[in-house]
């Protein structure tokens, strides 16, 4: 089919638009000068400064705890829920409820949890952010695993049950292995979204336990420093690696299944 030439203008514009700022950030992170606006020479000193920044380190640790915890919780709850929704109910209301947090604006969820925590006098801290992140993490796991379930042949499950296996055994030995790619993808999604989540954490974290995005928000507000460039470059490198690895992994699992 013919590809109209004119379409290439917005096509390339999109990529230039998406990547110009990123290129700028990466290049400026190796700048030796303090000015974020002019490149004066190569240097790694901002990475050194970043490594010495206790607030960033603390934020990173907090973020990883929250992301790991909420991912585990969201994956278990979301997988069960997805199977339950697909196999044990026909209710469209429940179906919708399961994915609702994924379509809800983050600010609405954040305010909801803020007033709820205040009303029940919850102690704020990492646990309050972890519980909050599980809400939307679970919705994404549920959505991904459900999609996967529609591709899973339920005659295998029936056969297992007919052969006398308990529902538990059937779930663990038959259903779960088939769902694995979906579960892994869902968990990965929940983890990444939690790592990057700002608005909900901003409203539900205690002042003593800022997550990395909260620390970054504070740094960005306090002005342009090359340290942020270094941080951005590192985060980019990690995301890049994870995305590529995930791409490889799904292709691997696809070729296996």
């Amino acid at each position: 089919m013919r590809r109209p030439r004119l379409l290439y203008v917005p096509f390339w514009a999109t990529y230039v638009f998406l990547y110009t700022p990123i290129v700028v950030l990466v290049v400026m992170s190796f700048n030796s000068g303090k000015s974020p606006y002019s490149f004066t020479g190569l240097s790694l000193k901002w990475y050194g400064k970043l490594a010495g920044n206790a607030l960033v380190r603390e934020g990173l640790v907090n973020t990883l705890i929250v992301a790991a915890g909420s991912t585990v919780l969201a994956t278990v709850l979301g997988t069960l829920l997805a199977v339950g929704l697909a196999r044990h109910t026909r209710s469209r209301v429940l179906d919708t409820l399961g994915v609702l947090p994924a379509v809800l604006p983050d600010l609405v969820l954040a305010i909801g949890l803020l007033v709820f925590y205040a009303a029940v006098r919850m102690t704020l801290g990492l646990q309050s952010v972890l519980l909050a992140h599980t809400v939307f993490g679970m919705a994404f796991v549920t959505a991904v695993v459900r999609t996967r379930l529609t591709h899973v042949d339920d005659s295998l499950e029936e056969a297992s049950r007919d052969l006398g296996a308990s529902p538990f055994t059937t779930f663990v030995r038959v259903t779960l292995p088939q769902l694995m790619p979906g579960i892994v993808a869902g968990a990965l999604l929940a983890f990444t979204l939690s790592v990057d989540e700002f608005v909900i954490a901003f409203f539900t974290a205690a002042p003593t336990t800022p997550t990395l995005p909260i620390v970054i928000y504070s740094m960005v507000r306090f002005g342009v420093t090359p340290e942020i460039n270094a941080l951005a470059t590192l985060l980019l490198a990690v995301s890049f690696t994870v995305v590529i690895a995930a791409q490889r992994m799904t292709r691997l699992t696809e070729s296996l299944s």
């Binding site: 607030l55 469209r92 209301v93 029940v120 309050s128 306090f222």
Partner: protein, 375 residues
């Protein structure tokens, strides 16, 4: 998951949302109320001989406002653990403290009028002066602050005033009046910033019109609004935190600034208190009533008031501290270089203290919203 499959479900989404809202109509009333507690009346008995090493103190403070090695120094001297959390603005910490959820903060650094509001909400422990012998180091003037005469619930950490910080090399005539910010000369248009926190957002117009910074009068505020909206056209933006950097880079040439934040150590940057007068702001330390480490919290405040520690703010971030011994010990050279450090306590008290206006403080919130929403 990016398949276009949400749409088919969306009616159900709304159904559930509606359901949630319906449930709330009956269920909501059972949630616990935030008590409208009375201001600090009943002082808990604190034990002056408590074993502090069994306690630990968490403070929340603006980033960079206390020495970086504060925790280590406190642990060495007082033998308890100090955790330093940070908040960017008064609003953020107020949001957390008044939320009703437990934040785990023992000592918070907030500006005077916010300390007053926290106290009125019953969230503060009265200061126990017997546990803070170093209160004696404060200037007598620092005990007569309008929002808390006698330091009953707050201890001042730094104080200063608000004025105009400018680039002497980039403005034709140095500013002398708030009107220079509100209607800048041609060459400074779009190179001016004003502060975004509501009371300081209002300050230039309030003072230019000769009113009190604590005015509650609706007609006054209507005039203030008119002036601020007119000023907006010439602003680069509203900025509480990065105006110093903007002056240094030349992006801005004249900004509304707190004296301590004006980088007067740079060659061409100067600070002036406009002739119409200005405010007196005080950043204070308060002990939360919910704190379980009140003895250690007081010991921490006492430690800060030690001239050797307290002078850090003046030496390093050029903030005046209300500590006579600390100010007297400052190098003369530093004072000469940075004019704002030369202001005496009595000069400072000539500025009008911003106090909390209680129910009427919403008028300033609305004013700020209206100004920012104006096109």
């Amino acid at each position: 998951m990016f398949r276009a499959r949400y749409p088919r479900r969306l009616p159900a989404v709304t159904l559930v949302a509606g359901l949630a809202l319906a449930v709330s109509a009956c269920g909501g009333g059972t949630t616990a109320a935030l008590p409208e507690a009375s201001p600090s009346a009943s002082a808990e008995q604190l034990n002056p001989n408590a074993n502090l090493s069994k306690q630990s103190v968490t403070i929340s403070v603006w980033p960079g406002y206390t020495p970086e090695d504060l925790a280590a120094r406190v642990e060495e001297k007082l033998r308890f653990k100090l955790k330093v959390a940070t908040h960017d603005t008064n609003e953020i910490i107020m949001g957390k403290l008044t939320g009703g959820a437990d934040t785990g903060i023992d000592v918070a650094f907030v500006s005077g009028q916010y300390a007053q509001a926290l106290n009125a909400a019953g969230l503060l422990e009265p200061i126990h002066p017997e546990l803070i012998p170093n209160l004696a180091n404060l200037y007598p003037e620092a005990k007569e602050l309008a929002f808390d005469p006698g330091n009953t619930f707050s201890v001042p950490y730094t104080w200063g005033t608000t004025g105009i910080c400018y680039r002497s090399d980039l403005v034709k005539t140095p500013p002398t009046s708030w009107n220079d910010i509100l209607s800048p000369p041609e060459d400074a248009r779009k190179k001016v910033t004003m502060m975004t926190t509501e009371r300081w957002l209002a300050l230039p117009a309030v003072k230019a019109l000769g009113m009190s910074v604590n005015t509650r009068n609706d007609q006054d505020l209507a005039k203030v609004k008119e002036k601020l909206v007119a000023a907006k056209a010439n602003l680069l933006g509203y900025d509480d935190v990065t105006f110093g950097d903007r002056l240094k880079s030349g992006e801005a040439v004249m900004v509304e600034a707190w004296d301590g934040w004006c980088p007067t150590s740079e060659k061409n940057i100067k600070f002036v208190v406009p002739k119409e007068g200005s405010d007196l702001w005080v950043d204070t330390m308060v002990v939360l009533r919910s704190s379980k480490n009140k003895e250690a919290a007081h010991a921490f405040i006492n430690f800060i008031l030690d001239p050797k520690i307290h002078s850090w703010a003046a030496l390093n971030i050029l903030y005046k501290v209300p500590n006579k011994a600390a100010m007297d010990a400052l190098p003369t050279e530093l004072k000469q270089k940075n004019a704002p450090l030369q202001m005496s306590p009595s000069q400072l008290l000539a500025g009008e203290s911003i106090v909390d206006l209680g129910e009427d403080s919403v008028k300033y919130t609305r004013l700020a919203t209206e100004v920012k929403a104006a096109q």
